[in-house]
């Protein structure tokens, strides 16, 4: 369950940047190929946010698809697993996107 460690890391990144302000919303981007389960992150996030300025903050997760270009025909395709086959039969793919795992932004109460 590496999502617990991931959630701890997310909380500590936001705590650091929030500099004491109360955080009400955190927006993450998790690619389909990031090997991280959004639901598990959500569960762990609430746990890790307890007793921090993120306690009770809502978590928004933007899931981005895996995108790859076929090395044989140049076709651009979408996948939700880190492997696949182009309609032309080729399995050698150049991965373009989908491994993202980042904190995009967060919202604080402005005082």
């Amino acid at each position: 369950m590496h999502e617990l460690g991931i959630a701890q890391e997310i909380v500590s990144i936001v705590v650091e940047h929030a500099a004491g302000a109360r955080v009400v919303r955190v927006v993450l981007e998790i690619g389909k190929l990031a090997a991280v389960l959004p639901d598990a992150v959500r569960f762990c996030f609430d746990l890790c946010a307890e007793d921090t300025p993120l306690e009770g903050a809502s978590l928004v997760i933007i899931e981005t698809p895996g995108r790859a270009r076929c090395r044989a025909c140049g076709n651009e395709l979408t996948f939700d697993r880190p492997f696949g086959r182009c309609p032309c039969g080729e399995t050698d793919l150049e991965w373009l996107a989908g491994a993202e795992l980042k904190v995009k932004e967060f919202e604080i109460i402005d005082v």
Binding site: T52, P53, I108, I109
Partner: protein, 265 residues
């Protein structure tokens, strides 16, 4: 006990040097600074409804990646080849290491970083071969990370121009995410685990440069379709090199040794 993550003192990561018996706590990564300093500001009690959005675009694993790069530089400065051995529990990582050290010890200078949640068992097995070894116990953690390896390398102090073999915690999921600063990942699968492992754990097979299929001495006794397994592995990672071995009986080990020799300093 830490309220946030429920960890207790005895489940915190430690590093043990088998040669000196020295035990070091590894809690740098897990520093319990879950913001307790800021909790009591109570600013929200008086705050109005207006909020501000702060753009970050920060990779969640950026800290680990930075430390991994630092390890990579440390290793490169010393001309050391480090390999990260990953597998599910019991695939035969330690057995393969014991055999490799016995067979190549006279030819290549090898030392080992062992990773397990608990026990010194694997490090003691490695030590019995006469090899230098440190053991990282991750406690509740299910993988090694770059900060742990940095401490491990410091304690191990491997000689220049040598090979460091890192046995990661038995787990086919998260070690794929945590770069340690190694030159390459070597994934070990065994025929008793079923031939669909590459499809079930594609990230690990994709992140690895070499696949060692172990326990082939058991092929006559298990239903394992080798052709299927190889097809699945290549579908997930077309560039993956494959060697088939029996770490106990010795079959096929030359393929692994050649791969290692061609990369060792």
């Amino acid at each position: 006990m830490c309220k946030t993550c429920g960890c207790s003192d005895d489940s915190r990561p430690t590093l043990t040097n088998l040669e000196t018996g020295r035990v070091v706590a590894l809690d740098e990564r897990h520093d319990h600074d879950h913001g307790h300093d800021h909790v009591h500001s109570h600013r929200h009690d008086h705050a109005g409804p207006s909020t501000a959005t702060i753009a970050l675009e920060t990779a969640v694993l950026a800290k680990n990646d930075r430390l991994a790069d630092r390890n990579r530089g440390w290793l490169a400065d010393r001309g050391i080849l480090a390999l990260n051995l990953v597998s599910s529990p019991g695939a035969g990582k330690t057995t393969l290491l014991e055999r490799t050290i016995r067979d190549l010890g006279g030819e290549i200078s090898i030392s080992v970083v062992e990773g397990d949640q608990e026990t010194l068992n694997d490090a003691e097995r490695i030590q019995a071969t006469g090899c230098r070894v440190v053991q990282i116990n991750t406690g509740t953690g299910c993988h090694l990370d770059a900060a742990m390896l940095a401490k491990g390398l410091d304690e191990l102090d491997p000689p220049r121009g040598s090979v460091v073999l890192i046995e990661n915690v038995g787990n086919l999921v998260c070690p794929a995410l945590f770069d340690l600063g190694e030159r390459a990942k070597v994934v070990i699968a065994s025929v008793t685990e079923g031939d669909d492992k590459p499809l079930k754990y594609p990230h690990m097979f994709r992140a690895s440069s070499l696949l060692i299929l172990n326990k082939i001495d058991l092929l006559p006794h298990v239903s394992f379709d080798l052709a299927h397994f190889l097809k699945h592995a290549r579908a997930v990672n077309p560039a993956l090199r494959v060697v088939r071995v029996s770490a106990t009986r010795g079959d096929g080990l030359e393929g692994w040794y050649d791969w290692l020799r061609s990369r060792s300093p």
